[in-house]
């Protein structure tokens, strides 16, 4: 459900960028989502279709790129890929890690005409 607010923000950014470029149509929006963020691409797609009606972004293709998580263990310093926020360091078992990548949510680029 929180993807509704996210999709509104996506549309706002896309419309601003498209209008600055003088575009008449947005063909594609590329969104990068970190694998540990709790945002679901399918929900964003659902809301995007509804919210983009009558805007320059109506009918645009949404492309999602998932970014792998990586983290450094706060106890032993080893690097690993946590699969969720509850993950333990595979080397020492600590649950405290510094997430370097994996919670991103940004618009990478758009294709316009």
């Amino acid at each position: 459900m929180h993807e509704y607010a996210i999709t509104e923000s996506i549309l706002e950014i896309v419309q601003t960028e498209a209008s600055q470029a003088g575009a008449i149509r947005v063909d594609e929006v590329k969104v990068v989502i970190g694998e540990l963020s709790s945002f679901a691409g399918s929900s964003i797609e659902f809301y995007f279709e509804e919210l983009s009606h009558g805007t320059v972004a109506e009918g645009a293709r949404l492309v999602f790129e998932e970014l792998e998580a990586n983290a450094i263990c706060c106890s032993c310093g080893s690097g690993f890929r946590p699969r969720n926020a509850f993950y333990s360091c595979p080397e020492c078992g600590s649950r405290l890690f510094d997430l370097k990548q994996g919670q991103e949510l940004y618009i990478d680029s758009i294709e316009v005409t």
Partner: protein, 222 residues
């Protein structure tokens, strides 16, 4: 034509949240974002805080619910200013909703604003409101496995209130295992056992709040 955008989608919320935080810190006001699942006891916890703190501290409450004014009416009945935000279906409060609510409050004369977020353990953790402190409630009836299932929120709060401890004899809640997991996830988070029913732990909870209020004042004077 391809346009490189590279823009954080949550940027607008984060900017508004930073503005809210700045606004509160200019006035030395402490704002607590209280998060929990539906029925964990958010309103009861706020009412306990009002009973203990309102004599010495000027307080206001911002209530977030999908619908209804039930909670804000209960708070107003205690003579505390209460603003109700109905999110109309949205599962969390956002920084801009809080910004509008702050416009209605006389921040000059307040020490503490408690924001009761929408009952949910997922989305509220993703949206910064500009609060000065984050508190969550986990209640005994929800079970001790919740930190396993919703680790993000347990990681991101400053205090975890374990409410309804009066029900411990009737539930299979393993407090030792709950505490161990929460301490592993969030070693700096305070864990406070509480019962709004019989008042157990209220002193510890209110002491925590008083410290948070005085830290906001200290930040102002420094």
């Amino acid at each position: 034509m391809k346009i490189e955008v590279k823009k954080n989608i949550l940027a607008r919320n984060d900017t508004t949240a930073a503005e809210n935080r700045e606004r509160l810190s200019r006035q030395g006001v402490c704002m607590i974002n209280l998060m929990a699942s539906p029925g964990a006891g958010k309103t009861s916890v706020i009412m306990k805080a009002i009973e203990s703190l309102s004599g010495d501290h000027a307080m206001a409450v911002i209530e977030g619910d999908i619908a209804s004014e039930i909670d804000s009416l209960a708070i107003e009945a205690m003579n505390i200013p209460a603003l109700q935000i109905n999110t109309g279906g949205s599962c969390h409060l956002t920084a801009s909703m809080i910004s509008s609510a702050l416009d209605y409050l006389d921040l000059d004369s307040l020490d503490l604003v408690i924001v009761e977020n929408v009952g949910n353990l997922v989305c509220p953790a993703e949206f910064d409101l500009g609060e000065t402190g984050r508190v969550m409630i986990a209640s005994i009836t929800e079970g001790h496995d919740k930190p396993h299932k919703y680790p993000t929120i347990f990681k991101e709060v400053d205090a975890i209130l374990v409410n309804k401890v009066d029900l411990l004899p009737y539930c299979d809640f393993d407090m030792a295992s709950f505490r161990q997991v929460v301490e592993d996830l969030n070693p700096d988070g305070a864990i406070i056992e509480l019962s709004c029913k019989d008042g157990y732990g209220t002193d510890e909870w209110c002491h925590w709040m008083k410290t948070a209020i005085s830290e906001s004042k200290t930040r102002l004077s420094s």
